[in-house]
Amino acid sequence: MSSPHQKPTGFLIGFSVILVVLVLIPFFVDLFYMTFLTEVLVWVLFAVSFDLIFGYTGLLSFGQALFFGIGAYSMAIPISKLGIGPIPSFFLAILVPMAFAGFVGYFSVRLSGIHFVIITLIFALIGSTLGETWTSLTGGADGLTIPFTPLSVGPLTIDLTNINTNYYLVLIVVTVCYLLLRRLVHSPLGKVFIAIRENEDRARLIGYNVKRYKLLAFVIAGALSGVAGGLYGITLKYASANFLHWGVSGHAVVYTIVGGMGTLLGPVIGTGIIMILEHYLVNFLQGTDLVIGIVLVFMVLVAPKGLVGLLKRNSG
């Protein structure tokens, strides 16, 4: 089932071009911007994972920050406290958030609409409260630093304190996740999620076990948020309890809405544009929320399908 707009070759070309650009950038751009770009990529992954649960399945979850933070701590705690190497820790950053998402999701998917929003919020609050006070484990808001020593993988030596190496790692992971996600949303399973978003009751009436698939979407999104969190910890070299705060989820909301929810390109564009905007505005306005807030209100009222929606409207 393909819509007239989806040309596989078009995507392939566009994607390859962007990929090539991203691969070559480190040679042209200085290190400060590389760190920024790396962070943008991490947030792209986070926003895209949010879009899976919100744009594609129709569930607004303010709790994604919980899995993001747990992902970061899944790197931080094993490496700094347990002496576990970065590679196994990275797998933990996938599995541990996924387990938590399973737990939270198990209870949350029994509810719909505003109740779902609230319950995910409450779980996030519990998480952030515990995170902030259990300082022996999490280092509280100040967080835990993650020491990275160069490690050998076969013939390669990977030194994550090198900004460009860090960048390429993040680029690879985010690209792989993006491609996987793209396949998912066009897959039979993806269609189930979309059906649930469009009309949950009708989906149930035609035989879909809606609870089960909501949970599945939630777990997948949670796993991806965790990966994003893990990457964030790697990039920043620390994890803080602030990562667990629901305001972090708020960022994903903004990026996704502005870019266009229910599309994969949307969160990518949204994250990029907003983060660049934030970067420049920080100095003028001592912060960025004012503009973000206004943009959000504007988008919601005028262009609910985000920038991608606007583009589609003009070209279609």
Binding site: S187, V192, L205, G207, N209
Partner: protein, 245 residues
């Protein structure tokens, strides 16, 4: 012949309100049973009970000799029961094609996240078939919410049929349609319905008299009378209840 659907003393409480009171109903396979009655008689509630949207407060519901009284809607759907709603319930943002496609897919046991949905040839074939059946093939790429109201009602029946049910519950399919549109829908229904057992809730008596094999009249949550159209037409009690209809 074994009845395909049996309601045994089914009741439903909503807080203090008794919506359905000891309803008894037996439907034979292949029958087209009409459920009529004034507003609030409990017709839609009955359908909701059968499809598992509400649990029963009392009594049992049997489908092909299996008790389905408290099963959830998705399980019941897989047993072979499909339903249209009184207020159109479609996947409004999806196209007509996609609406049917995703319904056809629902019959599968496993949804692969790693392959392209478009490559499921069996689903594609069936979708084309059902699109033809509903006569909406040329409107396949239209978004469901952009269809005319009449076409939406038609699509809803099409969606229900795409689950290949043995029992089809239709909740006021002609609701909101003009007499002309209703008759047009009935004609289309005749070609679309291929031997399923049908329970039809309707307000439009012309449609009922046209289609029904047997009629059950509901009043205040109880089955008041049953019989073929002629008998019901002559029934004094029914006439009283339907003052002026």
């Amino acid at each position: 012949m074994e009845p395909i659907l049996t309601l045994n003393n089914v009741s439903k409480f909503f807080g203090g309100l008794l919506a359905v009171r000891g309803a008894n109903l037996t439907v034979q396979p292949g029958e087209l049973r009409a459920l009529i009655g004034p507003n609030g008689a409990g017709k839609t509630t009955l359908l909701n009970l059968i499809t598992g949207i509400y649990p029963v407060s009392g009594g049992q519901i049997f489908f092909k000799n299996q008790e389905i009284s408290n099963l959830s809607p998705n399980v019941i759907s897989h047993k072979g029961i499909a339903r249209t709603m009184q207020i159109t319930s479609l996947f409004s943002g999806l196209t007509v094609y996609e609406n049917i496609w995703v319904t056809v897919q629902s019959r599968k046991k496993f949804f692969n996240p790693f392959m392209k949905a478009a490559s499921l040839k069996d689903v594609e074939e069936k979708t084309e078939r059902f699109l033809e059946l509903t006569g909406l093939k040329d409107k396949g790429q239209l978004i469901a919410s952009e269809l005319s109201y009449g076409d939406q009602r038609l699509l809803e029946i099409g969606v229900a049929l795409s689950t290949e049910p043995e029992l089809l519950l239709l909740d006021e399919p002609t609701a909101g349609l003009s007499t002309h549109e209703s008759m047009s829908l009935v004609k289309k229904m005749r070609t679309m319905l291929t031997g399923q057992t049908i329970v039809l809730v309707e307000h439009d008596m012309n449609v009922v008299m046209e289609l029904a094999d047997k009629i059950s009249v509901l009043h205040y949550g109880e089955v008041l009378a049953e019989g073929n159209p002629e008998e019901i037409r002559k029934n004094e009690e029914v006439k009283k209840v339907y003052l002026g209809h």
